[in-house]
Amino acid sequence: MSRQSSLTKLIFLSVLIAVGFLNIVLSCALFNNWIPILVVIIFLIAPIPNALAQCISTSYDSNFLGDYDDDGSVESPFVEFCHFLTGCLVMSGTLLPLILFHCHLINGRSFALSLSGGFIIYLSIVLFSVGFKEDDSDGYDF
């Protein structure tokens, strides 16, 4: 709409990502145990496959008949594999703190902090890609 709204959005998202990093670093530094920093890495690479898929699918014309572009258009296998990878990575980022907690490598507070921090970072990246997308064709992509 205007530059003001875009600027507000940017500031909000940067605050959100800073809070996410704060949570994760806190979960590591408070207990002097730097294993949960792996969660950041997983949640940072989680949006990459979907971004690639979007990049591919805009240049790839999958609807060869041109009639059904909204429902029933067959996605390319690469896009589907990217979706699969996204689901895999998000679930991995959720399960990694759980496993560390289950194996007594981190304690309960560190588990909660790292899990929430990871989700906040992922949420801010997704909101960034949704908020600055040009066409709002479907809001269902993560």
Binding site: S6, E75, L85, G87, H102, C103, H104, D138, Y140
Partner: protein, 169 residues
């Protein structure tokens, strides 16, 4: 940013999910299931390394069923399903090959699940380790293979939906 027009909210309130959305969501769920399987195996091995109080430890043998399941899943999902239901005739050689490779894939998947149970029985139950924290490692192995199989089934269903869609159109 371009103006939206007459929409108040960014997302439309009532929008029936079309088949493409359903397929995307199912693919996401399949990926999540595969991740659950993978991290269950990792959890079993990390648990055996850290807080394991018993003499049983997870070795490479426990990883073999999961590797078999993963290989089977890769084989099954890389087959082009259109070749399977092709009309017989000139392309029957390709169809035969597709059936053979698919058979190998399903065998690998079945070997994975059977191997999970085999490890559970031979390594834990027969030797009398049937109390919970120790038995959990074997149960996690079986659960991991089931998750991989469910993920594979979900992907198979998705591809058959696609088949119906293109046929009905």
């Amino acid at each position: 940013m371009s103006s939206e027009g007459e929409h108040l909210f960014r997302f439309p309130i009532i929008k029936l999910p079309n088949s493409r959305t359903v397929r995307s969501v199912m693919v996401y769920i399949a990926g999540a299931l595969y991740a659950i399987g993978f991290w269950l195996v990792v959890d079993a091995s990390v648990y055996s390394k850290t807080v394991n109080a018993s003499v049983v430890h997870v070795t490479f043998v426990d990883w073999i069923p999961f590797i078999c399941s993963t290989l089977g899943m890769m084989v099954i999902n890389s087959i082009d399903k259109g070749q399977l239901f092709n009309s017989e005739g000139f392309g029957s050689g390709l169809q035969w090959q597709a059936r053979l490779v698919l058979f190998v894939g399903f065998s690998l998947l079945a070997v994975g699940i059977a191997g999970g149970f085999l490890v559970l029985i031979l390594k834990f139950l027969i030797k009398g380790f049937n109390s919970m924290p120790t038995l959990g490692m074997g149960l996690e192995n079986v659960g991991a293979n089931f998750c991989v199989m469910l993920s594979c089934i979900l992907l198979w269903i998705i591809q058959n939906i696609e088949e119906d869609q293109t046929l009905s159109l």
